[in-house]
């Protein structure tokens, strides 16, 4: 095993005979922002779901920091340090904004059931620490003014940022972003892009699936292009943009990279 953070080896996923992902190999290096792009149906979401733990691969292996994770349930992957956001937002709408972020720190708490029932001093100290950390994160994302609001009452753009904050609250080593700009107007998409590159400067490794080409090209250190479940190109923005197979795949869809 080299020093890569995430390694995907000979990964396959079949749905009723359709090969959604075929023989895929790639690495994510610590500290980089890696993007996965491709036309609709290229297998991006399937790949993402296999890494996050929602979909089981048909065959192949996924390693995270030397640990094989492809058969682990989602919550175990989260405990290893993989956090994610969702394309169609999965925040805790009935909880407050602050509680959402505090729940994101769940894996860093130790208080058990009896500590919780009795509200002992150790628990109270831990709660205070969690609240402070969550508030600091909210302040960083300019959501501190909404801390005690019901999360479901936020605007769509704010919910996207909240979900990002919740993912970061667990202090992950790998952040999986499923279309972070989807559904956002260009200005807000740019804001999310700024947040992602700021996080990366702080040392967070990012793997993202995204349709917004402008965002992908400006953010990513490395881009993996999929078509029909297979890798057709991999490299930096410039090399990918000029790659003939990439042009063909996207022109077939009537879109320009």
């Amino acid at each position: 095993m080299t020093d890569c953070l995430l390694r995907v080896e000979a990964l396959n996923c079949n749905f009723d005979g359709v090969r959604a992902v075929a023989d895929l190999n790639f690495d994510v290096q610590p500290g980089e922002i890696k993007a996965v792009i491709g036309p609709n149906g290229a297998g991006k979401s399937t790949l993402f779901n296999m890494i996050a733990g929602v979909t089981r691969p048909t065959s192949g292996r996924i390693w995270f920091d030397g640990v094989r994770i492809d058969t682990l349930p989602t919550f175990r992957r989260a405990r290893l340090g993989i956090a994610r956001t969702f394309q169609n937002l999965q925040i805790f709408r009935e909880m407050t904004v602050l509680e959402n972020v505090m729940t994101g720190r769940h894996i860093h708490g130790e208080a058990g059931l009896f500590g919780a029932l009795l509200n002992g001093p150790a628990l109270r100290g831990e709660e205070r620490g969690m609240t402070e950390a969550a508030l600091a994160l909210l302040a960083r994302f300019e959501l501190d003014g909404f801390a005690h609001m019901r999360a479901g009452d936020l605007s769509f753009g704010q919910m996207k940022v909240l979900e990002l904050a919740r993912a970061l609250a667990g202090e992950p080593r790998l952040l999986l972003l499923d279309e972070p700009a989807a559904g956002l107007p260009q200005t807000e998409a740019e804001h999310v892009g700024e947040i992602i590159s700021a996080l990366n400067r702080d040392g967070v490794t990012v793997l993202l699936v995204e349709h917004n080409m402008r965002m992908v090209m400006s953010l990513s250190h490395d881009i993996l292009v999929l078509n029909n479940g297979m890798r057709i190109a991999e490299g930096d923005a410039d090399s990918v943009r000029r790659h003939p197979d990439v042009l063909a795949a996207y022109l077939g869809e009537g879109q320009h990279a």
Partner: protein, 347 residues
């Protein structure tokens, strides 16, 4: 911190648009943060005056039953309102606690003070056995499993005549006692029930405002999201199911030593259903809901003693009306009215 964009466009789009959404809510969600511990203490201090102002012992005995019912409904609310899991066997765990405590006392001579925690532990253990297979599956499996479990228990209470006394009930249960001072009158039992119900309400409050309570509510509102932040949703659901059954077991033990008697029909499936109705009428997922639910569950049958079957029909009717007017139950009524009036003003 590295991040400080001058003016975020995200902040200009305010949340107002979402407010106009119709107030359609699922039954089992927790919307509000738990209240402060001081408020709980104040409410329970206010309850202390009941024995002093009650005109007769009958009213005190009703207050006693209400405190037991509050434990029962609050523990079900924890599971149902905050945990999003519906148990149709809560009266069964209540009965298990009552019979375990009563039988240990009558047949084995165990002191009621020792039987009380034993009843809680055994009810919790039974929930573990029922919950492990049922909670592995999503959906209504827990409701089905607990319904069947409750039915089995009632058969056992009826048929194990040598142990339980069968349909005639378990007789000769001793009251709690402090030395020679027996807690065998309503007025002497009240302080104990007051204290235990306060402790249960406090434990629930503590739990709700803790990391585990947040995990529980997270699993109930969005299991995908809960998974993603590292919460083991199966374990969390199982934990709260066991805890809630344990509390029902404690309520059962209190019941049997207060009444010095237990009979199977108190713990029937239809009473389990009524408890679910009481959680919903009081306010599912609202901390104060069980107080209202406990009051109604205790008082209404007394008013309708002459019309036995009418009771269930009335409860059904009340539930429909309450949930139409205020989907979050009686404890959610102020918020529902405010929303309605506020909406009328702005439109």
């Amino acid at each position: 911190m590295a991040l400080a964009p001058a003016k975020s466009p995200l902040l200009t789009s305010v949340a107002a648009e979402t407010r106009s959404r119709p107030a359609v809510r699922r039954l089992a969600v927790a919307a509000t943060r738990p209240p402060s511990r001081w408020r709980l203490l104040l409410v329970w201090l206010a309850l202390l005056i009941v024995p002093f102002v009650a005109p007769n012992a009958y009213i005190v005995s009703l207050a006693n039953m209400m405190l037991i019912n509050i434990i029962l409904i609050a523990s079900l609310n924890l599971l149902m309102g905050y945990g999003g899991q519906i148990s149709l066997g809560h009266a069964g765990f209540y009965g298990l606690g009552a019979y375990v405590s009563g039988v240990l006392n009558v047949k084995f001579g165990l002191n009621p003070w020792a039987a009380l925690p034993a009843a809680g532990l055994l009810a919790g253990l039974a929930a573990l056995v029922v919950g492990v297979p049922a909670l592995r599956l999503r959906g209504l499996y827990l409701s089905m499993a607990t319904l069947g479990w409750n039915a089995i228990l009632v058969v056992m209470f009826n048929r194990l005549i040598d142990v339980t006394g069968g349909p005639n009930g378990l007789l000769g249960v001793k009251p709690f006692a402090l030395g020679a001072f027996k807690l065998d009158t309503d007025i002497r039992q009240f302080p104990l029930l007051w204290l235990v119900s306060l402790l249960v309400m406090l434990a629930i409050l503590n739990l709700l405002s803790s990391r585990i309570g947040r995990a529980l509510r997270a699993v109930a509102t969005n299991e995908l999201g809960a998974d993603a932040v590292g919460i083991d949703s199966f374990r969390t659901k199982l934990l709260v199911f066991v805890l809630s059954a344990g509390m029902a077991g404690i309520a059962g033990s209190l019941y049997v030593h207060v009444n010095q008697y237990a009979s199977p029909e108190t713990f029937s499936v239809s009473n389990s259903i009524l408890l679910v109705v009481m959680v919903a009428i009081g306010g599912s997922g609202l901390y104060w809901g069980p107080l209202l639910g406990g009051f109604i569950y205790t008082a209404v049958p007394q008013l309708l003693l002459d019309y036995e079957d009418f009771e269930l029909m009335l409860f059904g009717l009340v539930m429909i009306v309450v949930l139409i007017v205020s989907p979050t139950g009686l404890a959610g009524l102020p918020a529902a009215l405010r929303r309605r009036l506020g909406g009328a003003r702005s439109s």
